[in-house]
Amino acid sequence: MSALGKVVRSGVGRRRVQTLVIGLATMMAVAASVLGGSLLVVSGAPFADAFAEQRGAHLSVEFDAGQVSAGRLSESADTEGVSSAAGPFRTATVAPTSDGAGSGWPMTVVGRGDPGRDVDEVALLDGRWPTRSGEIVLSAGSSLIPTLGMKLTFPGLSGGPTLTVVGVARSVTQTADAWVVPSQMPALTAPGSGGYQMLYRFTDAATAGQITAGAKAVTKDLPTGAAVGKQSWLTVKKNAERDTALYVPFLIAFGALGLVMSVLIVGNIVAAAVGAGTRRIGILKAIGFTPAQVVRAYVGQALIPAAVGTALGVLAGHLLAVPVLAETEEVYGSSSLTIAPWVDAAVISGVLGLVAATAWASAWRAGRLRTVDALAVGRGTSMRRGRWAARLAGRLPLPQPVALGLARPFARPARALAMGTAVLFGTIAVTFTVGMVASLGEVMKAKAHDVADVTVPAPMPDFGPQSPASQKKPRADPAAVAAAIEAGAGTAKHYSAATVRATVSGVTGTVDVIAFTGDASWGGYTMVSGRWTDKPGEAVVPTPFLAATGTRIGDTVTVNGLDRPVTVRIVGEVLDPRNDGMQVFTDAKSLAGAHPDLTETSHHIAVASGTDVTGYVDALNKDLAPLGATAQAGGLGRGSDMVVTLNSLSAILTLMLVAVAALGVLNGVLLDTRERVREIGVHKALGMTPRQTVAMVLTSVVVTGLVAGALGVPLGVTLHGWVFPAMGDSAGLRLPDSVIAVYHGAELFPLALGGLLIATLGALLPAGWAARARTATALRTE
């Protein structure tokens, strides 16, 4: 081994703690960067690729066939700004059942002779395109599980058509739930219903404003009210990317925190290691090392642990990315997402380059030192800084070790600043995570609506052929269940919620209409704006519904797919991410004329004050048993994989950042302790006990920890205030104050003390070493 190699190897071995700290800090920076970078890359890729390949429709518009002819719609393709168009295609809302299964859910069927080419080329995933009547292609995202050869019947239609599933397809812009040949459409369209679908691509369609302008242009020459629904590709894109996009602001925050923090700490550690080795550098130069060799030796000493940390960080980043990428894959079905190799390459080269640059800058400065000056380092004393602080602390009515410790940061302000920055970022991370967990909890609470003391869950809907056993099972009559609840001793208030599947013009897929009987305003629904319903004919809807339908509070929407269309006025915006926010909450009387199927009804009960919930449930269940329903204590709270993933990720990333912060403190205090070993020896020779030594070292980080904690908390709160609404925006949700303003005064104080805790944790080990240092050895130390 060359002399240089030996110096590098011995340096790495000699400074074991610094080597470890550089390795760990680098590992965490790389893991956070790989995770963040990968998610940023994959979050947009699958949809963008598929949209470009299939030439997705920038805008799909649903027209009322009774108000506009196919010919006039064809002319809209020539509107200025339209680069290509497809249609008009006949559309119908149908509710098929498969192979004798229970009641069908509504779906939008479109009549198209072929999968298309210039606009919205539907991708066949399995089977073939229908060539004649009696055949149907189902969307991969259809509510019916698509199986080739499956027979679909349409109970509500005259003539009782039966179609065979011949293919499974996917439209990137989700223009339909199923496709048939145009000649099939009359049989699927009830008299007086049905519509036309036009699909447009525009020359400019990058923004919502451009899409709105395009929509106005293509409908301006058509009768008012002819367009009954519109769907922008931006809405579809947002829905498709929702799950992954949710992670993006979160990861940007953590990635940036991790990267900045690790850069600071790695830089500080490397610079400090070189600084602490200045005398050694002098010795190396005295025995013949050139300045360049010295620089290479110290860069090498930093790069070895950094390289090991980088390798481990890449591994950790890949492992952490697995659950997040799995979520993304679910969104795109068969897509198999992996971390882009160039992300790994960029992170590896970036981090190692950074470490090398920092080490080089520090070593270059030391390498340029005159040998005689480098050799003299450590012999003299230059403790001129912070004397005022030592004097001031000495006057305070505090034990001497505490006073000595408190003054210490002022003697080495740069080092204290570096430690404080590490603690600051650690506190920001902890504060941010606490807020995020609380906010996600609020979202889950809003989603679960589980403030009820007792719930009678709705029976599960039928999916597939009914077995003889299930046919025999009695269906609970919602009215009878409600009557039993009303009569139950201890019932304070109750309401029932029936879930009815319907469609809304212009939006593919089903919409859940939640029809309430009784006052549900106390049921835990979190309003974003507007108000709860007061009377039949009013509805509240989640933000994604407003976005998908292009409606606002005060507008009306028409719910289709029931016995007759039902128009309701939107009076409020509610926070509810279930069913991708495609829900309509209204009074059951709003749907009275449309004869909805109310089988899927749950009942929510608040018991009177002082009532024993368990006893109430037991008594109620005796009354409900003959009705085929069962009550349970508590609400219908359901967990969420995404929340679990986000909470786990944030916990892991926070722990990593806290660990890096503590390592930064450990390194700083360790350097400080080494530098002060003689001083500590003097103190011990004068009678400082080990406990007093520990107290002195620990209090040396108290000021730093407190200041960093006090600054970190408001910054963490600010970061949360920026990231969480951005996450909500990514998920298409507007978040009310109750979800954003989750920090309370009582929580902020312990969070601020968290900075002190991180600093103390980092200083504990060096404090122990200082306490155990042999006094006689310390006194002899140069």
């Binding site: 001497q400 080990p690 006194l779």
Partner: protein
């Protein structure tokens, strides 16, 4: 017969696998004595001083100071022992450069829990006695070597220790300053302060001690109750 201040019984200390730094050394120092421990480099002088100060522990034998079995003390006990029983003066002063002279001097008292005001009064008295009160608010870096060593002596005396240990107290001083410190130690001893001085400095040994102990290769080779010291003894 008065109780000894220091009583070493067959004390041995060996570092790693090297030769014994101290081998079965026995020594008794009585109150009011001023003892010079002489010997060449590596003879075991500093080891002896460290054992008496509770900075190190013997491998064998016992070290008793003022009735305290120092060799049996833990770290915390040894620290409390140093506070109350001994004062130490070092060759390179070991003053803390970021503390003023007064703050350096009050340090042992403050560590022992003495109130600041009381400690300040005691420090002022000591500094005046030692003739360096005009430097009370100065930092050690501004003082001469002799003045620094006086500050170190003041610090060592702060808790009124029955025993003053000095390790080469004139080793870093010029002749004039060395004589100054020597006189200071003589004066202190004349007031009854028990002193053990480890030194190469024959002049110091002659001038301020009334007993000399010679060590060579870890063994006590001579113990004389006379200040007269033969020059060849410390070669």
């Amino acid at each position: 017969m008065t109780t000894p201040v220091i009583e070493l019984r067959e004390v041995s200390r060996r570092y790693n696998d090297g030769p014994p730094a101290l081998h079965e050394a026995s020594l008794t120092v009585r109150p009011g004595e001023a003892v010079a421990v002489l010997g060449p480099s590596g003879s075991g002088k500093s080891t002896l001083l460290n054992l008496v100060a509770g900075l190190d522990r013997p491998d064998a034998g016992s070290v008793t100071v003022e009735g305290v079995r120092v060799d049996r003390l833990g770290e915390a006990g040894a620290a409390r022992y140093r506070r109350s029983k001994i004062g130490m003066v070092f060759q390179f002063f070991n003053l803390l450069d970021d503390l003023t002279v007064t703050d350096n001097v009050v340090l042992p008292a403050r560590l022992a829990g003495m109130a600041r005001g009381e400690a300040d009064r005691r420090a002022a008295q000591l500094l005046e006695t030692l003739g360096i009160d005009r430097h009370a608010r100065a930092y050690p870096g501004r003082l001469s070597g002799g003045e620094r060593q006086r500050v170190a002596v003041a610090r060592a005396l702060m808790n009124r220790p029955p025993l003053l240990l000095a390790d080469e107290p004139t080793g870093a001083l010029d002749t004039a300053a060395g004589q100054d410190v020597s006189k200071l130690l003589t004066d202190l001893n004349s007031e009854g302060q028990t002193i053990v001085v480890v030194t190469h400095d024959l002049a110091l040994a002659r001038s301020c001690t009334n007993r000399t102990v010679r060590i060579a290769d870890g063994r006590i080779t001579e113990d004389l109750m006379s200040p007269a010291v033969a020059p060849e003894a410390v070669r």
